[in-house]
Subunit: 418 residues, 2 copies
């Protein structure tokens, strides 16, 4: 069934749509009576349906022309679905192990059909709140980040291909603007979208707005976000954009995808792990003090960066004589200079990642969209203590990011902050 213009689907029309769309019905059949459908969109933006039948399963995701968690008063282009589908396709080509398959995309309907990640897959953030360890998480996420960031950068591609792709993703500007507002602007000014744990954090919120050094550094990060087309980012790689089991890690929801600074993706993930760390004291109880889990979180932060660094360097070495235009083999042709450029590239990237990660932490405490890790701590005073620790660490990380020479030093600083 081809709709000639956009219309929001409900359960009934969704069945009709699936039946009329071979790319979907071949996964799940056409027998409506056998299909079970469930709306599960718990995110901020879209409607998401899980459809299951004896023949198979799939997920249907439809973008509506506004921000779901705010309502129609905050319009948001449904063209984001086109960019989400495009990133899904590209990232799953580069890293099929950790990106679900795209079955179908309908631009008119802003509708994506994709693989359903069956139970026991859960949102990583919920697992972190529950204190579940994922022994392969760092291995998997570092794999995804190394592959998607390396292969979409000028380390691997020609300028011609790079600029073509950059131009296309300039079209996802409304999603970039949303990030600019909620990550880099609103937390540093009075905005009626901002929320915080009041009255506990009232003074902390004012302190953020009055911290000139912090605001200067945030401006630099924002400029990088807006101006630097380094690689095709996921654009929203927090722990709510990952579905996991102890054996599987799947990256979803790349609707904020665009060509931006690599550190923004890496920072999103690491920053959210640090938030999870500071939230643990709020979830500790007599049966579980969460100390071991906090150690596991720190180890996962360390491993994620260390493994990323190793894998990214390995891809760089593997393709160093390829077509990538950033470091031509005839120039960077001896092992000494090769090691020096890699070291410089990766320390700059670590600093970017720490800066963006810290900015993502701050906005989750004083901005519009909070994280369940902290929100689910019922005692507001106890929650405020966690939030304040996280906020203070994030501020000092953002301002002092360039003094860190390794991820181990960052982990040490987190430990020493409590």
């Amino acid at each position: 069934m081809a709709f000639s213009e956009f219309r929001p689907l409900d359960e009934k029309s969704l069945f009709d749509y699936i039946r009329a769309t071979p790319a979907l019905s071949e996964k799940i059949g056409t027998n409506v009576d056998e299909m079970k459908i469930q709306e599960v969109g718990d995110g901020n933006l879209n409607f998401v349906y899980i459809v299951v039948s004896p023949a198979g399963s799939l997920v249907i995701k439809q973008a509506l022309p506004y921000v779901r968690c705010i309502g129609e008063s905050w319009p948001m282009t449904k063209e984001r679905a086109y960019f989400e589908a495009t990133v899904l396709k590209e990232h799953s080509r580069l890293c099929p192990e950790h990106v679900p398959e795209l079955y179908h995309f309908d631009r008119t309907m802003s509708l994506i059909g994709m693989k359903y990640l069956e139970p026991p897959h859960i949102i990583l953030r919920k697992g972190l709140i529950a204190g579940i360890k994922y022994p392969l998480l760092a291995e998997h996420v570092s794999d995804y980040m190394a592959k998607t960031l390396y292969y979409t950068s000028l380390l691997y591609n020609t300028t011609t291909e790079h600029k073509r792709a950059v131009a296309e993703f300039c079209g996802n500007v409304e999603m970039c603007r949303l990030t600019e507002q909620v990550v880099f602007s609103d937390p540093y000014k009075v905005s009626h979208y901002n929320k915080w744990n009041s009255p506990y954090l009232d003074q902390d919120v004012v302190a953020v707005r009055e911290d000139n050094e912090l605001k200067i550094e945030v401006a630099e990060l924002k400029a990088k976000f807006c101006e630097r087309s380094q690689a095709l980012l996921h654009g929203d790689l927090h722990t709510g954009s990952l579905m996991v089991t102890p054996e599987s890690t799947q990256v979803i929801d790349p609707e904020f995808g665009f060509y931006g600074p690599m550190g923004y993706d890496i920072g999103a993930f690491i920053g959210n792990l640090i938030l999870a760390y500071y939230a643990q004291d709020g979830h500790a109880d007599a049966s579980n003090d969460r100390k071991a889990y906090k150690e596991w979180l720190l180890k996962t932060i360390d491993d994620t960066w260390s493994l990323f660094e190793k894998k990214f360097t390995s891809l760089w070495n593997k393709h160093k004589d390829g077509e990538g235009e950033a470091y031509l083999p005839e120039i960077y042709n001896n092992s000494e200079v090769q090691q020096l450029v890699q070291k410089k590239f990766l320390i700059d990237l670590l600093h970017d990642s720490l800066g963006f990660g810290a900015a993502k932490m701050i906005r989750r405490i004083v901005g519009v969209a909070h994280v369940e890790d902290l929100e689910s701590i019922e005692d507001q005073s106890r929650r405020a203590k966690c939030e304040r620790q996280a906020l203070e660490f994030a501020k000092s990380l953002l301002k002092g990011r360039r003094k860190f020479q390794s991820i181990a030093e960052v982990v040490l600083a987190i430990q020493q902050s409590q």
Copy 2:
């Protein structure tokens, strides 16, 4: 006359073309017998005709699908004419005092009709070689740079407008690739395009290729050039892209225009002034030791940056409550933080400018396209002395750019280098 497909014009067909094109004939009439035509393209890329009649004058510039100074063996998109016309239009809107008016553009023919800059306008580079002082040069160029760079950046524009324009100029990728090759790559590797003053500079050329620290820094500048969409650049703002009289300064030839780092334009101009400085000793003779002229060049370098800084800051202050998204007024809302962000922005921009300027100097001594400032020194040994001084200074400037806190320190370093 509309040509349905591209054809290179000659004098005869040019007359026909003008007669059939109202935007041109209204400037110069249709009486062919009264028109005088002169091919003056002395640049590296295009054919340029000056057409003069009793009724008026104009310049016709046609891009051919290869690099003129190399020949058909180096193909080059003639679509560059479209981007040149687009930048001309935009920059002359922003700074009509220093950018000649565009009369006509024909995309099929890759043909631009524009104002003829009448005598005594000459190419600035030729004036600098002749030792002519231009007392308003720094004032004018700083004006052009401040206006074109400020008004095409996120300091003034919304992200929406910025990304739309960035996407469009991604199309000028072939010109960007040419710069990448001749400025950031070829000088640092063996390339059959490279030329140098042999045998005098044979060892210097090898030293450039073996300077790991230099190559690491060049990689960072190249990444900025390729990835950072900060403002709509001229893209080739050397002293051969300016037509001057003592009273007038006009910027021409923006066919390399694209959204790139501001420092690339500023550095191109300053780097070429520094080259002119080091060339002076090669032009000194009994009648003129050029010492006073060298002082004027240093003063012009200092004034250019100082005036640019002042004017750029002034535009920033003027529009600080406008729609630009980089520094929202609600965040950067007190004079202390405003001054701090401006100081940081401008010191970072100075470092970028010095780095790019140095890279432009190096490529003019060991790369494919040299400058007449140095090439016109007939005694090869004397010329080599100038070139080596310029090259050594450029290398140390590129590597040590971040240690300079003001343009005065740079000028002092130039003086102390001799």
